[in-house]
Subunit: 237 residues, 2 copies
């Protein structure tokens, strides 16, 4: 979008401070900067496809990337959402496997591609980088186990409320009169794919929640008219 952001410098990149590269200095930082490629993506555009050779890793500058898995039957789900400061494609690269998942921009996004040779060099050069990748993997594992458990034990309503709150934490705000508000950044279909349900189920649970006066819906905008009750429902049971 913005031409100025296309030529990016790792040394001054604020996002880098939350990535695996946060501990790099001088030479290593220059190596990173010289070999990375910055890429802009529109919604629906692909970072990489399930089955592709993993030739490096991708740092998300800004935006929202969905990791998608399609099964043999053609059913598609979103395994995880990743945003600014996350790295995607690293796991397949580190185990030298083809990409397990596809990565797709859900909103306009900027990612930096780091070639595999650079990753290998930097990991070999500085032990901190390896440690950061370990911590990142551990965090992804913990999150995936949480999602796994929730999706296996909860009903559609609970799972949906959880996703709403997750988005509220990321991009929610208070409107003019102090009401908690959220602009959903993704389609109904994508919400459904996060929960392993059909889009119609999303419509129905939204209607149900509106009928109960817990929130108001206007297309992608959600107004939480009774956040307390929602929080209680999610946390209690």
């Amino acid at each position: 979008m913005n031409k100025a952001t296309t030529s990016h410098n790792c040394s001054t990149c604020l996002t880098r401070r939350t990535t695996e590269w946060r501990d790099l200095e001088s030479d290593d930082l220059q190596t990173l900067d010289k070999t990375k490629k910055t890429i802009h993506l529109n919604p629906g555009e692909i970072v990489f496809n399930q089955g592709d050779k993993a030739s490096g890793v991708y740092c998300i500058q800004n935006g929202l990337i969905g990791l998608r898995r399609v099964d043999e039957g053609g059913k598609s789900i979103l395994i995880r959402l990743c945003s600014s400061g996350n790295t995607v494609g690293y796991n397949s690269f580190l185990v030298k496997s083809p990409q397990y998942n596809s990565a797709e921009a859900l909103i306009p996004s900027t990612v930096c591609f780091i070639p595999g040779s650079t990753v290998s060099n930097l990991v070999a050069n500085s032990p901190k980088v390896g440690e950061r990748f370990l911590q990142h993997t551990l965090a992804d594992l913990a999150e995936t186990e949480d999602d796994y458990a929730r999706n296996l034990t909860k009903n559609t309503r609970h799972k949906f409320l959880h996703i709403l709150l997750m988005f509220y934490e990321r991009v929610g705000y208070k409107d003019a009169v102090g009401l908690s508000t959220l602009e959903l950044p993704i389609l109904r279909r994508e919400l459904a794919e996060l929960m392993g349900v059909q889009p119609e189920s999303i419509s129905r649970v939204l209607r149900e929640l509106q009928d109960e006066q817990l929130l108001k819906v206007d297309a992608k905008k959600i107004l939480f008219t009774d956040m307390d009750t929602i929080l209680e429902e999610i946390c209690a049971y």
Copy 2:
């Protein structure tokens, strides 16, 4: 059970060759051996509980350990099964969090407890150990994503057949007349907890599969009378 196996020596331990400690030598190996504690567990006995302080890691010598998560509503599921050569509790230890899951022996099992200080020393001493933990975490993440996707997209029947085949790979054998056979090592309830369904659903799908002549059931023993059809069903769609 067997007294002889209680005093164990890491240097000669065959299981160690598939753990994070496989690359250790001489001094490090002695440190490991001197500080580890070997523990025998009967079915139902607990290695550690969800919420416990993670004071070290546990290597599974033999047996079958289930990682269980109980949610606020009291529903319990099995997140993952671990057996000989796996390490459990390492993820919580490495991120210095309380245990995310409980670990419980599902059959008679032997595990070695490695105190946290030993783990930290060995990781600091030899970079290979850290790399092994990274690879282990990556493998667990990949497996959890697979399970996640399957559980979100497949029905009870498909998930159950998948679990049967998984057990067949681990402990299956051909009987006297060459028929694929399996002694299920766990309860119906535990099978259900692996899939996030009710035990009754396991009974029903077992009945269905018997009625279709795909297998025969005698308590815990499963005879696969038509393995080809089962494999086709799982792989195709």
